[in-house]
Symmetry: C2
Subunit: 455 residues, 2 copies
């Protein structure tokens, strides 16, 4: 083991541009629809929720968007992140494959999320936004946006799914450390929250409900407050491409190019961030790279959902987009990978899967924890349960390469650490974790409630 383990970039190598896949994607993006009229939205409609610069980033087909110096300056607190070759894991698997991982868990909040949180806070700041709202499930996104809003001195309200607010207080304390206000959702602060509480005061809440509350607060603030989403939308995924742009340079340092690029997907942003800069060379240079998006069997959006127009939230207030969906009233099984429990998926990523440019695979919960522990013992890092989905498939690829005697080059996104998920590991060791197969009947029922879109 004398070859290089870590591939490090200097501050001067920090990317100066985000990459916009819409410039090269052969599949044109479907329009975003107004949830009331079912007609394509105007920038004016979106401007109730988002500052104009982000709306322009959402619809542009420019290939490269310059990263503002103020954003790069914050990135420098933890970026460029390391790329590591998982030599010890390769040894443990006795595989001829080379396994690389991009370590996004080194950011202060512990995942890739601040790549867009910092950018969104910055654009809101220069647009005069007085306060921001968002939702969070287990708290990764909430802690990232509170980190970003704190830096640019914007007050933030976070609507946190009630069951997480109560049972997983540590991310909430992190959010509060960065200075944001956190409310258990459903809350009595919104009409939608109050209506849910009237039906069921003991509801555990859901991400769809929390999104509705955060959207309602922004939409009814007379332009003072803006809403922020941590995944799904084009501009969010684009901000994450710093991950892949760095990884391209680091694979160069390693003298290799990936045969397969892997990531876990909830809304799709961490995986798009790593994959899209490599996807560019599939489209522009005909590179033969495989792309594998990994989701939980408990939330099989890409593998069993329908590719169609659906609402982004439970209350049908958020815009309608064309995506793989399990239905906007989806209620997830209680798997520990909270960040992967969204009913929808990024439209651009859905289109790539639908167009055959990207593979999708669903994995069970227990086997992801098995992979997580194997990774932790080999490489030291304890991954987030979400990230463990990518690790599972990276290991499976390495074992497949071994069986076939191939020196396959595997790259995956180590999207976050599991320091706030140790209870999940405890449940795994105690034998208290289950596998969940999402019921076919629920999928069919959800399809009955889709918006009636004539496009």
């Amino acid at each position: 083991m004398t070859e290089q383990t870590r591939f490090i970039l200097n501050e001067t190598d920090l990317p100066k541009y985000w990459y916009n896949l819409n410039a090269d994607n052969p599949i044109p993006p479907a329009p975003i629809l107004n949830p009331q009229t079912m007609e394509p939205v105007t920038p004016d409609f979106l401007s109730v929720l988002f500052p104009m610069e982000l709306i322009m980033q959402e619809i542009t087909t420019d290939r490269y968007i310059e990263i503002p110096e103020a954003v790069r300056d914050v990135y420098k607190l933890w970026r460029p992140t390391p790329l590591l070759r998982a030599r010890r894991l390769e040894l443990a698997l006795d595989t001829p494959a080379h396994i690389y991982y991009k370590h996004e868990g080194v950011s202060p909040p512990g995942s890739h999320k601040p790549n867009t949180a910092v950018a969104q806070a910055y654009y809101n700041k220069i647009s005069g936004t007085e306060a921001m709202t968002t939702e969070t499930g287990a708290g990764q996104w909430g802690s990232a946006l509170s980190f970003g809003c704190n830096i640019f001195e914007i007050p933030l309200e976070v609507y946190m799914v009630k069951v997480s607010y109560t049972q997983k207080p540590y991310r909430r304390i992190m959010i509060e450390t960065y200075g944001a206000d956190v409310y258990a959702s459903p809350s009595d602060r919104t009409n939608f929250g109050r209506s849910i509480l009237a039906q069921d005061p003991d509801t555990p809440g859901s991400l769809g409900i929390a999104i509705s509350e955060a959207v309602e607060v922004a939409a009814t603030s007379e332009g003072k407050k803006k809403y922020s989403l941590g995944s799904v939308l084009n501009h969010v995924l684009m901000h994450q491409t710093v991950v892949g742009e760095e990884a391209l340079k680091q694979m160069d340092l390693a003298g290799e190019y990936p045969d397969v690029v892997i990531g876990c997907v909830g809304g799709g942003s961490n995986y798009a961030g790593l994959a899209y800069p490599f996807m560019r060379y599939k489209f522009t240079e005909g590179k033969n790279t495989r792309f594998v998006a990994v989701e939980p069997t408990a939330c099989p959006t890409l593998t069993r959902g329908t590719y169609t127009f659906d609402y982004g939230d439970t209350a049908k207030m958020a815009p309608i987009v064309k995506m793989h969906t399990l239905g906007h009233s989806f209620i997830p099984a209680p798997i520990h990978a909270g960040g992967l429990r969204l009913h929808g998926m990024a439209p651009s990523l859905s289109a790539l899967v639908d167009g055959g440019y990207m593979e999708a695979v669903a994995v069970h919960q227990l086997t992801t924890f098995e992979a997580a522990v194997q990774f932790a013992r080999a490489e030291g890092i304890i991954p987030a349960p979400e990230t463990a989905h990518a690790i599972r498939v990276a290991i499976d690829e390495a074992l497949d390469a071994k069986e076939k005697g191939e020196e396959r080059i595997i790259l995956f996104n180590m999207s976050g650490h599991g320091h706030f998920d140790m209870t999940a590991y405890l449940h795994y060791y105690s034998g208290n974790l289950e596998d969940y197969e999402y019921p076919q009947a629920a999928i069919e029922a959800a399809m009955a409630d889709l918006p009636q879109v004539s496009l």
Copy 2:
């Protein structure tokens, strides 16, 4: 804010040697004494607990000890660690001082501890040790040694102070993830543990008791099991000097040299690791650097303890060393900085304080959390409560420099992150934290039970 923030070294810059302060320290080290005979120990006596290579490192006066390639290879999983200039903190404080911090929180277990854990596991492995034992308080050391023992495939028993085992399960789960066995101490696995339980079945335990149990298991294993200590001893501090050796190169990259080097001290290892390579130039080149060791007022070993010979553990089985001590039967107040609650201090560091080469200062708990939150909001990283002690004094130095209009260069060790300490932050926000002043009567009482040493 366009100047450089992070100073990064490549894998090829990873130090090849540890630095041994005993080669340059004008104060000769006091002998280590056998707790039964009160006479200087022989290597044979120590060999019941430690492998011979570590015993030789404990007593050598060689200036540099080569780091084995197998150890460097594991270090490469996270080293060299970044050095950062805290530009945002400087701005927040409006100080002309330059504040630098060495970020040891990026290691897989989250602190500087694996620097010695990996080395100790390696030397035990090549010496044929069949299993290892150790103690841990809140779990930083236990998780680091389980990480190291897992890499070199040595079974490990960790005796974890019972109150932490019960109330802070997350580090325990991390230890188990790396494959070690964890027992609440006092346990029924040792004579000493059983004797304590017979007196008080509900005892919360203490670090002194846990050390005694781990030492007893090794000492009664007929040479099969060895014991490992995470701080205090010379070889442990020496393994930590990779921190300071890297920081020297990184300060060079920054084009500055520290006027003051700061660290928190429990047993002294993280601070010695950063400070001793700089102390070398105080001794060999007459550099005028100030060195400030920071401890809690609740455990004021250096500022109010006695510099004398004392036992390393409660059961009086561990060797006797000359150090600043609050007495081996010390029972700490329940401050959250668990790693700083030791009755003793590294002998070499005690000698430097006694000799006037190093300053010592004690700070209260509440003011350390205030500093921690200020640091987190400026720099993003949420520090461990132990590390917050160093941050408190770094901020105080920066404010003092501001008052005096000095461009003071400040360097401190960011020894670990606080991801497993969020409950402490919650208590701080809730107003449930207290300051503790260690009672003078307890200090005087402890001095009555010192070993009768005639040196």
